[in-house]
Amino acid sequence: MEMPEKEVIRRIKNGEINYFSIIVEEYTPAISRYIKARLFQKLDVDDLVQNTMVSFYKAVSWFDESKQVLPYLFQIAKNELKMYFRSHKESVPLNEFVETDSDENDFYTEDFSAALSTLTKEQQTILELLHEGYSYQEIAKKCNRPLNTIRTIIRRTRLQVKKNYDRS
């Protein structure tokens, strides 16, 4: 970027929307890569990238020029991904079996669900929130627990589930 980022943002705030193309040119590849790495459906990558850039444009009036643009764009992309996963959620409650045709898969599901059912309510809740796309910090806030505690619980829960599943 030839012009300092601060100056570009200032001009966009001043209504010179053509300068937004500098931001788009500069940061779209990075945001595209970030989203592509986290999405199974590659067809939706462009939509999410568009939503991210447009959301940034809408918020540019309040954007602090002294801060960097890219971390803010990553945060928006993260939120877009979260909303995307929530709207495309195909989750099954932890205490239900996944129905399939194959007996082998039934056995797998039964054992996995059995492994999950040995967890405490708190562990199940935390795993569900993690599966829904919440970050560790958001889970800590929701469960009213310190961040490090949540990390420890998740690590121990994963080990416990693996241990129980291997045993069965």
Binding site: G15, E16, I17, S21, D46, M53
Partner: protein, 126 residues
């Protein structure tokens, strides 16, 4: 421009058209509304003064300077007593609001003008 960037700017165009139109209508509308309201209140003040014949006190200024000087306090006191105070406060408030709205509009004029020019240019080129 790639398709992705074209789509981004298309969405920005749609958003900006709505926002700029809304802002223009709001700003100009509020200035006009404040000015009209101020004018109406001013007219009602004048009407009230005419009904009360308060403005007759200004006939004093047709007299000689000596007489004006001797009676000016009485005239001012009469004016103060007979002036519709509530309407005057409302008129003063509306005048201040109108001035503030106009100043805000002037301050943001360049920003809105840049946006409108970009929207025009974008529409012509796409």
């Amino acid at each position: 421009m790639t398709d992705l960037k074209k789509n981004i700017f298309q969405k920005v165009y749609i958003f900006e058209t709505k926002r700029t139109a809304f802002e223009l209508v709001l700003r100009i509308g509020s200035v006009i509304a404040a000015l009209i309201a101020g004018a109406l209140v001013f007219m009602s003040i004048i009407q009230k003064l005419l009904e009360q014949q308060t403005l007759d006190v200004f006939e004093l200024f047709r007299e000689e300077t000596e007489i004006i000087r001797n009676n000016i306090n009485e005239v001012l006191n009469t004016l103060y007593l007979e002036f519709p105070k509530y309407e005057v406060v409302v008129f003063a408030t509306l005048t201040i609001i109108s001035i503030v709205l106009v100043l805000i509009f002037i301050k943001n004029y360049k920003k809105i003008k840049n946006r409108v020019l970009w929207l025009q240019k974008y529409k012509q080129s796409h």
